[in-house]
Amino acid sequence: MNGTINLTLKVWRQPGPGQKGKFEIYQAKDINIHMSFLEMLDVVNEELILSGKDPIAFDHDCREGICGMCGAVVNGKAHGPKKGTTLCQLHMRHFRDGDTIVIEPFRSKAFPIIRDLVVDRSAFDEIIIAGGYISVNTGSAPDANSIPVPPQNAELAMDAAACIGCGACVAQCPNGSAMLFVASKVSHLALLPQGRPEAAKRVLSMTGRMKELGFGNCGNERECEAVCPKQISISHIARLNREFLKAGLFSRET
């Protein structure tokens, strides 16, 4: 299980927002197969710096697959070839000696490029600002066990809440839709009794804001589900749609 491989990297380099970018070719030599993808980029970057060139900019922090900060499109797939895995948790044992790897940023109208592989995903924060919460002030809550929650609901809510907000779903979607991201939050809160009072308002304001921010419509392509590193199911989109319909009825009634 030990060994090293040699790779050719084709990496998107772009000096700044709105500037022209292009692919550059780098050789990654003697890459230990136990390295993570980002550690492989670290090695390439160290060499670039030593030869006086700018390293490849990429976002990352936890390197444990939970903060959602890393991400790039690798050989056409957001976060690369391994299912249910963020780029930082993708290990080089999944590549073969001599492979060429094409690395590009998450591309979407709503995620402008900042530099190389780094994009601006603040539109996701904007969507949450529109209503991705339960309105409760600190200190006013009743005892935590006063409202039992059926464990199957709590589990389903947790499945949805596992979203790390990385943006892979948007990058992979042919329409650049953020539906899986929005659905995971809507679904998480709609499944819990605490989230019900604002459910209608939440789904309307979050989906409305999503459209305003330049994300596309969901065309049921299911590409988002396929690349989601947390394997969030598109059944949450179905729940969002139900919530949306209910909310429509509700708002006509009132």
Binding site: E46, I66, C67, G68
Partner: protein
């Protein structure tokens, strides 16, 4: 300068209630007139921003990451403690308080720790109301599990993603206040200085990480919730952007630094696999609920672990500590693991690993039950190592994880600079010389949701605040200093990369100021760090410029601070003439190799004052007074 912890008088149980009922209040109309800067959006910073804004203050919140949701709290796995006693197993506020004080080896303040235990119950209520999907029992009530250093089940959890769920709760609450117009967000900013005007903290200078510009912001008070500095050791379980810079700049401006040498090394992390390694991954302590730690009895036994029969295994934690067994506190488990490996009894390619085995639990409860509890941890392990823990036991080794040390704060969470507060892992306050598992999340949220909203009000109501503007002299001077520092770094033009320097610093610190320390080693480390720092300023190689997105430059600024701060860790370790909790000096140990405290002479908090450029720091001691518990021998046998 005198060090006053400002602990309210009265019986322990009544201190906080009394404090809250007597504190000066800011009127609702006046709250709107106050600006508060919060640096950091982890559990501590996000919860503080939300709670302060709910009260009506204007809050400006800063973080390094592109979104506040990505602060390193997101990575916490195992859980959060609270004295709810939902399991009816004898838990109480007193017991949580006592476990925490004892777990910290009697080096924390009674009053702070008691308040923490008291507030723990409110945290769970609030988080449930926010929609945090905690694990539940069949009947729909909240589930618990056990963590190290406790004999009760008081840890609440959301699978192995508790930190993520709690942080998303706090983040959403904060974003609700963005919508309300009371919080403004400043992501991708790195705070590089604290600005004082007439002795009060009145603002910050931050670098915009996208444009590289320096920006100034003014306020009536500044809150630092910037997390821990564990990755001064290069390899740690901390996020790659963790740093000491904001705290260290505050230190240089007059905030005392508390117990910098108290660094926690977590026993169960995935071992190092090669020199390219950039960080280490934690395997949650919760695994020790069901997992057993062992090595083969015969060091030459090269069979696959699953083929080694029970009789040929040494379950060394259970053997050494029969009553707590695999659930001894972290420092104890880490040292035992290191000792076994140093004796040549470790496993794996390097010999620096032991097994953490859940096969008994899988046999007992079935794969499905174990998968539900730990599935995501098992997957993470397999993803990194290529080995499935369902088939073969995990291999683990200790790694730097958490710092108990941090800015010294009084009971109000205020530093020695007026109007500068510090919360969460960034302060030194509650965990003494060793933190118990699942207590950092509790502390971060107690500080942010429930303590700072009161104490900052008390400060704002009792002081006067002349108007300041971010373009006035003090801000300009500070900006000039920062920009001079940046230019000096960029002008070195040497031949060694930042990462290379950081790695060298880390290995010195791990070797001599890590799990086991000696006077000789520490002195040696001091010299080595000095030399490395000198070389840094002569031989650092940076690319790119100041006014651009330049990750390499950001890192160089952090490492520059680390190289200086390392000296303070070493100095603190050298001056503490005892072993306690995570600080283990080989000169002070019991015959069983447990830390030997000196309560006569060392029951103090070390609060270090910056002594000036190239001058030694000055030690102040805050005596720890125990009126409610008797410091005993911390036995887990």
């Amino acid at each position: 300068m005198s060090l006053n912890p400002s602990i309210p008088s009265g019986p322990l149980e009544a201190k906080w209630t009394k404090y809250c009922s007597e504190i000066k209040l800011v009127s609702p109309a006046n709250k709107r007139k106050f600006e508060i800067i919060v640096v950091g959006t982890g559990l501590a910073g996000a919860s503080a921003s939300a709670a302060l804004a709910e009260l009506g203050y204007n809050v400006k919140t800063f973080c390094i990451q592109d979104s506040p949701r990505r602060a390193h709290s997101i990575a916490a796995q195992g859980g959060i403690n609270a004295a709810k006693n939902y399991q009816g197993d004898g838990d109480s506020i007193w017991r949580l308080f006592y476990d925490t004080i004892k777990g910290g080896d009697f080096r924390a303040r009674e009053a702070n720790v008691y308040r923490l235990a008291e507030l723990s119950v409110k945290i769970i209520d609030h988080c449930v109301a926010q929609g945090v999907p905690f694990a539940r029992e069949y009947g729909g009530l909240l589930a618990n599990r056990s963590f190290g250093g406790a004999l009760v089940s008081r840890t609440f959890y959301a699978r192995g993603q508790t930190g993520q769920q709690l942080l998303l709760g706090a983040y959403s609450a904060m974003l609700r206040q963005v919508k309300a117009g009371r919080v403004s967000l400043f992501p991708r900013r790195e705070v590089l200085d604290i600005v004082l005007v007439k002795g009060q903290a009145r603002g910050i200078v931050a670098r915009n990480l996208v444009t590289g510009e320096l920006e100034s912001y003014a306020a009536h008070a500044v809150v630092l919730a910037t997390g821990g500095y564990g990755n001064i050791y290069f390899l740690s379980t901390n996020g790659m952007n963790s740093n000491v810079s904001a705290s260290f700049r505050a230190y240089k401006r007059g905030a005392f630094f508390g117990n910098p040498c108290f660094v926690q090394i977590h026993p169960t992390c995935i071992p190092v696999s090669g020199h390219y390694q950039s960080k280490l991954t934690l395997m949650s302590e919760s695994l020790r609920n069901d997992g057993r730690v062992w090595v083969p009895k015969d060091p030459k036994d090269k069979r696959r672990p699953e083929d080694i029969p029970e009789s040929d295994r040494d379950y060394f934690l259970e053997r050494l500590y029969p009553s707590y067994g695999n659930l001894v506190p972290r420092d104890v488990a880490s040292r035992a693991t290191k000792a076994i490996c140093d004796q040549g009894r470790g496993v794996g390619p390097t010999g620096y690993a032991v097994y953490l085995d859940l096969s008994d639990a899988i046999k007992r409860d079935g794969k499905e039950v174990i998968e539900k509890k730990y599935g995501n941890l098992f997957e993470m392990y397999e993803r990194i190592t290529g080995v499935s823990p369902y088939v073969s036991p995990m291999m683990i080794y200790p790694a730097v994880h958490y710092v108990m040390g941090g800015l010294w704060v009084d009971y109000n969470l205020m530093t020695t600079i007026k109007g500068l507060f510090s919360l969460g892992e960034a302060n030194f306050s509650d965990h003494g010389a060793n933190r118990l598992g699942a207590s950092a999340l509790m502390q971060g949220l107690a500080d942010g949701y429930f303590i700072i909203p009161y104490t900052i009000g008390g400060y704002l109501a009792s002081d006067s605040f002349p108007p300041v503007s971010p373009s006035q002299g003090e801000f300009e001077d500070s900006k000039k200093e920062v920009s001079e520092f940046i230019r000096r770094l960029l002008s070195v033009k040497g031949r060694r990369t930042v990462t290379d320097f950081h790695r060298s610093l880390g290995s010195i610190m791990w070797e001599y100021a890590g799990m086991e320390r000696s006077d000789e080693g520490l002195r040696k480390a001091k010299g080595m760090v000095e030399e490395l720092r000198e070389e840094y300023w002569q031989n650092l190689l940076l690319t790119g410029g100041e006014r651009e997105f330049n990750q390499n430059l950001s890192k160089a600024l952090r490492v520059a601070d680390y190289l200086e701060f390392a000296g303070l860790i070493i100095e603190d370790a050298l001056t503490r003439r005892e072993s306690c909790g995570c600080h283990f000096n080989v000169a002070y140990q019991t015959p069983e190799h447990e830390p030997l405290r000196d309560d006569q002479n060392c029951a103090y908090v070390a609060a270090w004052e910056y002594g000036g450029k190239e001058r030694p720091p000055i030690l102040h001691k805050e005596p720890l007074v125990f009126e409610n518990v008797t410091p005993g021998i911390r036995s887990y046998k």
